[in-house]
Symmetry: C2
Amino acid sequence: MALTTSDETVIGIRTDIRTGRWSGVTSGMAPGYVQANLAVLPKDLAFDFLLFCQRNPKPCPLIEVLEAGETSPRITAPNADIRTDVPAYRIYENGVFMSEIDSLEEIWRDDLVSFLIGCSFSFENALVEVGIPLRHQDMGCNVPMFITNILTTPAGIFSGPMVVSMRPIHQDKIVRAVQVTSRFPATHGAPIHIGDPTSIGIKDLSQPDFGDPVHMEPHEIPVFWACGVTPQAVALSCKPSLMLTHAPGKMFITDQKDADYSVL
Amino acid sequence: MALTTSDETVIGIRTDIRTGRWSGVTSGMAPGYVQANLAVLPKDLAFDFLLFCQRNPKPCPLIEVLEAGETSPRITAPNADIRTDVPAYRIYENGVFMSEIDSLEEIWRDDLVSFLIGCSFSFENALVEVGIPLRHQDMGCNVPMFITNILTTPAGIFSGPMVVSMRPIHQDKIVRAVQVTSRFPATHGAPIHIGDPTSIGIKDLSQPDFGDPVHMEPHEIPVFWACGVTPQAVALSCKPSLMLTHAPGKMFITDQKDADYSVL
């Protein structure tokens, strides 16, 4: 299959990451291409974690799952290597953060299963395209994220609360925001809650559990989407012997376009 | 949680099935409720099969996956028992059909993982509701199904061709049929092909591989949807030591409504 020019751009970016020429965050790189959260677990936990994602598709939308030991995402990025093509990785042992490294090559094992999980960049692009501005982008900070009182559906050893991201949306744009994001179920999809933060267990919008606080303007309503931090938080709370992830904001860039993941 | 009257109806139907008062096909029973294909495999194959379904969501839309040994679908039918609430089951050993039985109770094992896979009844109801008639229903026969030259995405030991069902649709209704079925990705969703059968490897529409042939009327076009027979055919071709399924047309009825599975 011949590669298009666009694919070559993505491969170029991944080469820059692989060779250490780029080690920063990936937000804004390769616009229009799907970026993914990475979670790597030993095979003995892989069925339970896959089941957890299947039961919780809004916080854990699977882009691709590799087979044990596989390092190349043959469906979404066949030329890539999962061990080298993320700007930075984090190692967790028994749920405890150990260190940040720039390659998994030296610690790779044949029993490791890699999960690529959709991120919010895809639906954020879609919101901006229809004229719905994103406060955290305009403020140049990270999106605010909150631990809710909404429980995920447990699977095997995995269970815990859902983490959501919040974006203030003008009341006149709420319907459009629901419509636009509903088209992207593989990247968190429609909001899980609109309005009153307390009814999903959030006490103070100015005190996010992760990311940065953003201000609300008049006639804006807080809109909450399921967040890809959820599977990582849930997995770590279950203290797996080993878990590898991308470093925050430093995602894996696939060959797939956002538009490929639109249902309508 | 209080059950609604509707739920009580479903529970009544499942009780009739469990006690042997009903052992026929489930088509038309509990209209509006989601019915599911059943596939049961030993745990050592469960990760590969779950991965196969994740990679092939159109032919293998997962409604629920139970944990090893679990017999109650706690999400979609918590009062049900997967071993007794299907009118008839089939036993396959090493890919070979052995016998049909009316209960799995005596052969149940703690390492068995049950997969509930969406079926076409949900989107067929949606088509009929918008005034698109279904030829096989009008003829009182089974939908015609064909083995195509479209390959599924392999996972572990599982691989093989996609099976599709075909419905003749009047050319003026094709767009509406695509729109309506796109809303139900959990029950096969949008068509995978419209028109020329030969381009997906089907030589003769009057000779289906499964089900019954139906006639085409003037200005009708054959429309093809991914079919839930695919995962069963693929699994059996890999000759698992044991596989249990529902008998053809005798599905598992969940507590969930078709409308719960609409994305928009």
